[in-house]
């Protein structure tokens, strides 16, 4: 069965490694913080100026001066620090952040990503996404495999305006884990109960399937 958003976040959380600084984008990526595995210690960076971001505050403790990049009220954990936007992006551009997780509208099989604009219909802006994808070494895109019309979001080439070129390292969708390789999307894992054929049908870009493909263990 295809994963729900929480399942995608849970699978991405399995990739976290102790000592990493991690930037989570808006939407599914934000949920990753809820599934950090036991024994793994990471610090979350929010590009509006927080390192060591904690969970949502208890009801009544929310503070208008303490929000994340999605404008949600958050808390700080012991060891947290605060800084301005220029220093925040120095951390990002300077490759001091080990993992970036962000949402996507389209990803190409060469690792291009589009996630900020639909010409003539939707313009929200790129926020920090272009800085993040241009500099981070390890970029995971969390998204549904197909759009609401059932069309693949994993394409030979993006059709929407790009956020970054040749930058995505991994896609975790509701159907699969796929790594971006010189040969296209390489199928790494299947969502529980999802067949290789279903993934092939839902993937418009080049797809490499080698040997037995294991199921995710959530």
């Amino acid at each position: 069965m295809a994963l729900k958003k929480e399942g995608i976040a849970q699978r991405i959380a399995q990739d976290l490694q102790t000592g990493w600084y991690v930037n989570l984008g808006i939407g599914i990526p934000t949920l990753v913080a809820n599934y950090v595995p036991q024994g793994i210690s990471v610090e979350f960076q929010s590009e509006n100026g927080i390192l060591g971001m904690g969970p949502f505050p208890f009801d009544g403790d929310e503070d208008a001066d303490m929000i994340n990049a999605g404008k949600q009220t958050v808390t700080l954990l012991p060891g947290a620090s605060l800084f301005d936007s220029s220093m925040s992006f120095a951390m990002i551009r300077g490759q001091h952040v080990q993992l970036t997780v962000l949402g996507g509208m389209e990803v190409s099989d060469s690792g291009d990503i589009a996630n900020w604009k639909i010409p003539g219909a939707m313009v929200k802006g790129m926020g920090g996404a272009m800085d993040l994808v241009a500099s981070a070494k390890n970029i995971i895109v969390a998204m549904m495999h197909t759009n609401k019309g059932g069309e693949s979001k994993l394409l030979p080439a993006c059709t929407l305006p790009l956020t970054g070129v040749k930058c995505v390292s991994r896609v975790v969708s509701n159907l699969a884990v796929l790594d971006v390789t010189p040969d296209g999307f390489k199928l790494i894992e299947r969502a529980p109960g999802v067949s290789v054929e279903e993934i092939q049908q839902a993937t418009a870009g080049r797809l490499v399937v080698e040997g037995e493909i294991p199921e995710m263990v959530l």
Partner: protein, 232 residues
């Protein structure tokens, strides 16, 4: 040094139609709400506004936007303001959307005497159109120019009469870099104190970057996304 002015109305004296303004804040967090409200009461218009976001319908820059007093907006994310999106899609508003880190650094550069810099952000996208590209260490970068403003409008938690500022929580965001880049920087603070009462070790923005400071009143500080967990 004493840079204190009586109120927001005095603080915005000299702001004229057609000027370029920087407005600090991220979303509605850390925005100079008193200063914007005072500006909204005047008849000035045709501003170029540089701000990460564009407020919401009836708060922050939304107050200027709904009366079409902003001619051009330079921002990175405007998803919270439907009126902005409508004006943009119908070409009533000139918009330059730029990556958030480039926006912050362009402001910092403007205040730091650096005319331009190369960044990898936006390479290969429409942000790079018309911009010089150079390869450093095998990686392409685009040339981004510094930004400056006739007035920078910022908000801090505490400030002293000399204009030294301390910010709180995530309300710091763009305020320090914009404070550096304004020809006249106006700071509104939640708590104005006498010189000597702020610990110099704790000052985030040195007073040299601030020309006018005033005690703000009746801060509303709206929360855009109130997210909490239950105590049980």
């Amino acid at each position: 040094m004493d840079k204190v002015v009586a109120d927001a109305d005095q603080a915005i004296e000299g702001i004229e139609s057609g000027m370029t303004l920087m407005i600090g804040g991220f979303g509605l967090c850390g925005i100079p709400e008193n200063t914007i409200a005072a500006l909204a009461k005047t008849n000035t218009r045709d501003f170029t506004c540089i701000s990460n976001n564009a407020g919401v319908g009836d708060f922050g820059l939304g107050l200027l936007l709904k009366d079409k007093r902003i001619k051009k907006m330079i921002a990175s994310y405007v998803g919270e303001n439907d009126e902005f999106e409508r004006q943009m899609l119908s070409d009533e508003l000139d918009v330059d959307l730029i990556p958030q880190g480039s926006l912050a650094e362009r402001c910092r550069a403007g205040g730091a005497g650096i005319p331009a810099f190369f960044t990898p952000a936006g390479y290969g996208t429409e942000v790079a159109e018309g911009k010089e590209v150079r390869v450093f260490s095998g990686k392409p970068h685009i040339l981004e120019h510094a930004l400056s403003a006739d007035f920078a409008l910022v908000k801090a938690w505490k400030g002293d009469r000399a204009g030294n500022l301390i910010f709180k929580g995530s309300a710091r965001n763009f305020n320090p870099v914009m404070a550096m880049a304004g020809t006249i920087t106006v700071a509104e603070v939640e708590e104005l104190v006498d010189n000597g009462e702020l610990d110099p070790n704790a000052v985030h923005t040195p007073g040299i970057f601030v020309q006018r400071i005033f005690q703000g009143t009746e801060f509303i500080k709206p929360i855009e996304q109130r997210t909490v967990r239950s105590r049980s």
